[in-house]
Symmetry: C2
Subunit: 225 residues, 2 copies
DNA sequence: ATTATCTATAGATCTATAGATAATGC
DNA sequence: ATTATCTATAGATCTATAGATAATGC
């Protein structure tokens, strides 16, 4: 059924309304999944909100799991668009400016396309045995982002902090972003950019303190890679 | 059906196995809800895992919503047990020690009974229109904890920070706790206590910076109460 | 000929209840 | 008499598919 994976795509051009319908289905699924999570997203609901029958959904997507994974994938691409400029190598003058720029872009991306992180965190907190492809996709994407942050902190504190300490800084930064995102979801009047900026101040203060106290201050805090 | 709300409880003593069954149902529901969220928790699943028929579940709880709310309520009580000592007024010598003690207890409580925050965050991220009683309960409990933190920070920085600044500190602290909890859920080798302690260092650094720069430094960051 | 949508429905699962039966309290 | 469990099932909803039909590409 599913021809979205592009395996043996025919040379022939598809009908123009097909892609539009696919997007309408993804829009509806993203809305509902963002409201109600994985199990709360029913095919009937997506069908109703998109205006297309259930069988059309199954024509475009293999099954419900693939549909949710596609929602994550698309929202991640939009998210990446928002973060472009930071991820491209060396558009900022100094490592510190690079981090600050990353922060501003993160705040903007979180506000522009919150579906990605909201649904992603919901999937991450769930630990269902089967049907994990959407969750796996989110975790892979998240790991990649973490590696970027690691590289950024490494450049900023080269020679002053060891790998374990840099990893802790990146963990704290990502935790602050996740936590502040949740706070803002629960209170939309919260100024996300200002809070992220304060959090960055705190992370840098932790970094200075770690740098002064030398490498390997306490028992291991994370698994070696 | 539901006699759990204790409205017109008869003078007569209930059978001893009743309460035990109720707890087994709650155990099973907590496990499944922690794995799969609200919609993923089916009565059939709870019935199978608890060993009691569905009708027994409905004898003990009004409906599924009440069951999930009871799960939240019980895990919150256990959580509170872990936090007792911090919440009771003035067991610590200084405000700073009070905060540090709260931090240690938070780490311990998060590790001992993670169900409360895991399920709570899942519910918080969802925004379903109906069936909100479990979610409301979690948010109320969360708000109370936030107020305690606010009082604690107020005492610690009395006269040096205004209400808005104290609120930002509490928001950052709670965000760090939420975010680090998620990080630890995704990587159970993560040393939660050490990371929380580092986060606290960062929050205090932010506080010092705010105190030095005087009150009302930038545009409002939160809604007035 | 291929792409996409439509109607209709099979079969599984889910929430909730009816009504009989067992166990305990007074 | 009340508390609690048991069997059985109604009725709704959910995932997924079958098969007819429409629209477009070549």
């Amino acid at each position: 059924m599913d021809r979205s994976s592009g395996k043996r795509r025919k040379a022939r051009k598809p009908r123009p309304d097909g892609e539009e319908s696919r997007q309408r289905i993804l829009d509806a699924a993203a809305e509902i999944a963002g409201e109600r999570g994985y199990d709360g997203t029913s095919i009937a609901g997506v069908s109703e909100r998109s205006g297309l029958p259930a069988s059309s959904i199954y024509w475009h997507f293999e099954d419900k799991d693939a549909l949710i994974a596609a929602v994550i994938e698309r929202s991640f691409e939009r998210w990446l668009d928002g973060m472009r400029g930071w991820l491209e190598p060396h558009t900022a003058a100094s490592p510190l400016e690079h981090l600050e720029q990353g922060l501003r872009l993160t705040a903007k991306a979180l506000l522009d396309s919150p579906d990605f992180l909201r649904l992603g965190l919901m999937l991450a907190l769930e630990r269902r045995p089967e049907e994990a492809s959407a969750r796996k996709l989110f975790l892979a994407v998240r790991a990649r982002t973490f590696e970027r942050m690691l590289a950024s902190f490494s450049a900023l504190f080269a020679g002053r902090l060891d790998g374990r300490q840099v990893r802790m800084l990146a963990t704290l930064t990502m935790a602050a972003a996740d936590g502040l995102f949740i706070a803002r979801e629960l209170d939309e009047s919260l100024d996300l950019a200002a809070h992220l900026e304060s959090a960055a101040t705190g992370v840098l203060a932790v970094a200075e303190r770690l740098a002064r106290s030398g490498p390997s201050t306490r028992s291991r805090t994370g698994r070696a890679e």
